[in-house]
């Protein structure tokens, strides 16, 4: 046997060799003994090998030419840079598969490697059989072997051998890489980009457009942030030219973002609570800040602040003062059916939106996501969605409808609507503004959702014309709120018993299921009612949103339980809920006296054309 002495080369994948022959590997290990052995073994696998003993050098090489390598193998414990750090950097910058290598086989360490994005973790001493199958990671990463590769007998032998070895290794891999490698083996070809070049060619860079991200978040919400695995997300997204690896890395970033947001949110929550939730200015700021954070964190979507924002803030401030319809009732355990209903809604929505939690959190506006009907909301709620927010309300009925049955999917809806599908309920959007306005105030009363409500309002403002009207009617609202509350009792008994009952159960932080179900029914209901005229909505939504609001807060609380809840999102959820509830309530029809008041309150005046209408969210 001769050891091939190939000069490690830049560019070009092994000339005319068939993959995995000539796969370009960069091996990084500060231990010269291991490096030498590794190099030797890799050469025996007929790979192109470049070695370096320093992580810094490796990075330099990688950065010089991103197409230089197909795969990186790196030690974990290195003096100049932590192997995990290198792993992250390579994953982020070059999106190359990285295999970790170490004598350290502790579960914790292996886990760390996987969570940092390693596509495999090998234990020293590495055996030749293991190295023979590492090429699979390259394939998975959005590349495609040359069509003629499989014809070569030798190649087949190697592949077969690799597969066998891979099967054995996959046992260990799947244990460690359940998210990444477990069942994706066969998907690589399907998911790989249409790239006629050899697999060693660079992968087309996936740009996470708004639409794409919307789908991604929708999928994540649908699955539940804890259960969202790249493969399933990918399946749900149903987008071509995206591999699981793309989704995985995007998911990683998303999770980091959410974590940051939740930390922000919990910080803000504490502040809001400390302030008694009565600080509209603060709340307003929070929502905006959160949004900005989101944008910054994600680095893709950048809101262009406009005067409308400030308007919305003011508006929100005003809105905050009016009594929280439902919230008050609920909080003080007043027998307000309305508030209960709102609570339910809110809870449900919160569950929906926050349930998978991250969706809401990440874009603090994401209550829209949870909402099913509030198209405009949806657009506003997500930071991502905000970008296209300027697109006017478009019918979103179809997307809303499909999600009606699924709480998690509600977020998807908002995204889809966000993506530019026309929301089906322009009118509803308007009315929902009012509702949302109402809701935020309630939320703030709770002292939790101040920021949320702010966000909500802002969200609403985005498409919601009635911001201005709302402003003017804030006084009305205040009084109305009082009236409402007084009437709530009477109303409650007659009009919202159902909602109330539903709400009662879920009105806890943790009870999401009930609220979900309630919400689902409401959603379904509202779906049909979405197309109703505005007046109807107004009438019903007055009662419903309050309940939703309360519920929403509860739901919001649920999401907050980890201290990670984004108040904004909760507020958004509430808004969404209110919207939804409004619709469903509309269906049922509330009694009259309250209706009149509500109608007045929530007359959709589109004077300002929505606070955010002028706000341009740009994709950065």
């Amino acid at each position: 046997m001769t050891v091939e002495k190939r000069v490690s080369g830049a560019g070009g994948g092994g000339g005319g060799d068939q993959f995995p022959v000539g796969m370009r590997v960069l091996a990084v290990d500060d231990d010269p003994t291991c490096l030498k052995v590794l190099e030797n073994l890799l050469r025996r696998c007929q790979y192109h090998v470049t070695t370096t003993g320093q992580a810094a050098t490796a990075l330099k090489m990688l950065r010089e030419n991103k197409d230089q390598f197909d795969l990186v193998i790196s030690d974990v414990h290195m003096p100049d840079m932590d192997g995990f750090k290198l792993l992250e950097l390579v994953g982020l910058e070059m999106d190359l598969p990285v295999i970790m290598l170490s004598a350290n086989g502790e579960t914790q360490t292996v886990m760390k490697g996987i969570t940092h994005g390693a596509c495999d973790y090998l234990l020293k001493p590495v055996r030749l059989e293991q190295l023979k199958t590492i090429w699979q990671h390259v394939i998975r990463r959005n590349t495609k072997p040359r069509g003629s590769d499989n014809d070569d007998a030798g190649q087949k032998a190697q592949n077969g051998e690799g597969e066998n070895g891979g099967a054995n290794r996959n046992k260990r891999q799947s244990r460690r890489d359940r998210d990444e490698n477990g069942d994706d083996g066969d998907d690589s070809d399907d998911n790989s980009n249409e790239n006629g070049d050899s697999s060693s060619q660079k992968k087309p860079r996936v740009v996470w457009s708004v639409e794409l991200h919307r789908k991604f978040v929708a999928a994540v919400n649908q699955l539940g942030i804890d259960k969202a695995v790249p493969k399933k997300i990918l399946d749900l997204m149903n987008v071509e030219n995206i591999t699981r690896e793309n989704v995985a890395s995007h998911l990683q970033k998303y999770r980091l973002y959410l974590k940051r947001m939740s930390m922000d949110a919990s910080r803000q929550a504490n502040l809001v609570a400390a302030l008694g939730g009565r600080n509209p200015a603060y709340s307003n700021m929070n929502s905006l800040d959160v949004f900005r954070h989101y944008n910054n964190a994600y680095g893709r979507y950048r809101p262009v602040p406009t005067s409308t924002h400030s308007q919305s803030n003011n508006f929100l401030a005003r809105m905050n003062t009016p009594s929280a319809y439902g919230m008050h009732g609920l909080l003080s355990s007043q027998p307000l059916q309305l508030s209960h209903a709102q609570n339910t809604m809110g809870t449900s929505l919160n569950d929906l939106g926050v349930n998978n939690g991250n969706l809401i959190r990440a874009p603090h506006m994401s209550t829209m996501v949870t909402g099913t009907s509030g198209n405009s909301f949806a657009n506003i709620s997500n930071g991502v969605s905000l970008a296209p927010a300027n697109r006017s309300v478009q019918p979103l009925e179809s997307s809303n409808r499909q999600h009606l049955g699924r709480i998690n999917s509600s977020s998807t809806d908002s995204f889809s609507s966000f993506a530019g599908e026309s929301p089906h309920f322009p009118d509803l959007g308007r009315s929902s503004n009012t509702w949302q306005s109402a809701v935020p105030s309630n939320i703030q009363e709770l002292g939790q959702n101040g920021s949320m409500s702010q966000a909500t309002l802002q969200v609403n403002g985005h498409r919601m014309e009635p911001v201005s009207s709302f402003t003017t009617s804030s006084n009305q609202i205040t009084s109305l709120g009082n009236e409402m509350q007084s009437q709530a009792a009477s109303l409650a008994s007659s009009t919202l018993p159902m909602v109330f009952n539903q709400d009662a159960a879920p009105f806890t932080f943790t009870s999401s299921t009930n609220s979900r179900e309630a919400l689902n029914s409401n959603l379904a209901f509202s779906n049909s009612g979405i197309n109703n005229s505005l007046p109807n909505l107004r009438i019903d939504s007055s009662a419903v949103p309050r309940q939703a609001l309360d519920g929403g807060n509860a739901g919001g609380g649920a999401s907050l339980q980890d201290g990670r809840i984004d108040q904004h999102t909760t507020g958004n959820q509430l808004n969404y809920t209110n919207d939804l509830m409004g619709t469903s309530r509309l269906q049922r029809g509330l009694s009259g006296s309250l209706d009149d008041i509500v109608v007045d309150m929530f007359r959709p005046d589109n004077d300002n054309g929505g606070l955010f209408i002028d706000g341009d969210w740009q994709l950065v």
């Binding site: 046997m1 001769t2 050891v3 500060d30 231990d31 010269p32 003994t33 291991c34 030498k36 052995v37 590794l38 030797n40 073994l41 025996r44 030690d75 974990v76 414990h77 170490s102 004598a103 350290n104 020293k124 001493p125 590495v126 055996r127 030749l128």
Partner: protein, 144 residues
């Protein structure tokens, strides 16, 4: 030839006493028929690096305040290279060493360091003999 016989005896002994394990055998198999340069090279690298690591470990452990994380990291280095070369006994001692590290017991670490040192130097001297014998055998077979 005598060198070959001695080499075989030495190898058998090293495997039997647990100084070397299957990994070393694998490396040998991979390079059967080719010059012993590769094996010689990695053995030499291992010996050089290993000595340096053990000295560094001693330094770290003799500080007034021991940074056990550093010790642990360095230890993985030694463990990794000994595992790669097939130096079983050294590797196993490293594993024991890690436990003391995690318990942050300096004296346990120091004691284990002594064991590692002994194992290492024992292995190293045998490796040196092996390399010489290998060279002799190879030279002999190349000539004939």
């Amino acid at each position: 030839m005598e060198a070959k016989m001695q080499l075989n005896t030495l190898m058998a002994n090293m495997f039997a006493t647990g100084l070397l394990d299957d990994q070393f055998r694998q490396l040998q198999i991979l390079h059967e028929g080719s010059s012993p340069d590769f094996i010689t090279e990695i053995i030499t690298l291992f010996c050089m690096e290993g000595e340096g690591i053990i000295n560094d470990l001693a330094k770290l452990l003799n500080k007034p305040f021991v940074d056990f994380n550093k010790v642990d990291t360095l230890l993985y280095r030694l463990q990794g290279s000994s595992a790669t070369v097939g130096a079983q006994r050294v590797k196993d001692t490293c594993i024991q060493f890690h436990k003391f590290c995690q318990d942050n017991t300096r004296y346990g670490c120091l004691d284990t360091l002594d064991v590692v040192r002994n194992d290492f130097y024992d292995l190293r001297s045998k490796f040196q003999i092996m390399v010489q014998l290998e060279q002799q055998v190879w030279t002999f077979y190349r000539k004939h």
